[in-house]
Assembly symmetry: C2
Homo-oligomer: 218 residues x 2
DNA sequence: TTGTAATCAGAACACTGTTATGGAATCCGG
DNA sequence: CCGGATTCCATAACAGTGTTCTGATTACAA
């Protein structure tokens, strides 16, 4: 593996350009010729480095998973695990709102440039649930949550938050039933369903809101 | 408006062909030339009837909303409104599983052939929530749910079910945490969060399961 | 220095949505 | 009944897409 002249990290440069085009101009702007023009090269760059457009999209999806992981690992462990849990949900939503198109490709179940996720990619996505499951385990150990499977709790949390985020990205939630309002009560409902008392759950969820700006990237 | 010879309902024929192609071969198979070949005509048919590919996709989305509406209106009102509520959730999921690609276009927040939903289309989608809100009102009136806004309850139900369905369609739920398992406990959690007692909620959710095959189309 | 491998520019191919053109069949007013 | 007017569609072309082939240019190794 020996590059000719230019950047030795031409790969990440192309991925960055593609991610920027996707974020700024939407999926329609993602074309080999457009990317090549932005990078100042020819369309062949996409093929020598990624084997085609789908390979580039795959790389973008991996970057998307890495960003999500970064958002989740940004929340620190405190002595209130339920508040940590709520903050994980907020971080998950924050990442989706910061990278909406990327999130749609990762979890929207739809194809971009004919690309569809492989089982390995999906496993990559599910791996980020480990953070949530670990926190659920701490909630159970502390006695706030009922004894049970932390992974199952994490899945319930994931399903609910994912549903809210996708409908929010699709502009389906507004006015009296806006995403913020539903999300707040949803977080409390999640904690109560997992076993926490309504009063303490509401308190922890409220506490987690103030930690959002300080413990989440970007 | 007078057709030349063939079908006077050439519009619905083209929509049916497009829907079948989308369901059987995925989004990549949706092309004007392919549709024209299946219909035995030329690509111009798409333009005279729909003004372009996006117009055809819009018509397919409307058809998708109509099918969802048909699924939801299929559940009859019984003297157990909570069971009716659970069955509405099952019907919603049933429609999504029966028309996965169409559902992704409707609610996935992603574009197909450069088509994006208009505000009017979205309103069309939110209108189907009226069925759920009406049922929530009956649950509140019966005393099973706490007094409150039926529409808000419907939104919580929608968000949770949509999240489960999209992750299920994306093949993210399997093995020990499969969609069926999560959905069942999620339904109970929804009812309890709305105010129902855990025992009666579990009973109603279980009762609704047997009604699925008889009260849902297809 | 020579050889080998990697990288990329350019042209070409098959495909896409779309538009312009024109012909054919219906309707509708006389 | 008949003659515009209108509607529909087949054909061909254009600009765009992902992709492949070819060849030239460069970097690194023996």
């Amino acid at each position: 593996m020996s590059p000719r002249r230019s950047d030795p990290n031409a790969r990440s440069t192309l991925v960055d350009i593609a991610a920027r085009l996707l974020a700024e101009e939407g999926p329609e702007a993602l074309s080999t010729r457009r990317i090549a023009a932005e990078a100042g090269s020819s369309t062949m760059a996409v093929y020598t480095h990624f084997g085609g457009m789908q390979g580039l999209v795959r790389e973008m999806v991996h970057e998307g998973f890495a960003r999500l992981q970064r958002y989740l690992t940004g929340v620190t462990e405190t002595d209130d695990p339920v508040a940590d849990m709520a903050l994980l949900g907020r971080a998950y939503r924050g990442n989706a709102l910061a990278n909406p198109d990327l999130y749609a490709v990762m979890f929207g179940g739809f194809s971009l440039a004919g690309f569809t996720l492989s089982d390995e990619d999906r496993q990559h996505g599910r791996y980020t649930l480990a953070n949530v499951a670990r926190c659920a385990g701490r909630c159970i150990a502390s006695g706030r949550f009922e004894p049970g499977d932390p992974e199952l709790v994490a899945h319930h949390m994931w399903v609910a938050t994912h549903g809210l985020v996708t409908l929010e990205l699709g502009d389906y939630l507004f006015e009296p039933y806006d995403a913020e309002r539903i999300f707040e009560s949803q977080l409390v409902n999640m904690m109560v369903s997992a076993g926490d008392k309504p009063e303490t759950a509401a308190r922890s969820v409220a506490d987690s809101r103030t930690r959002l700006e300080t413990e989440v990237p970007e």
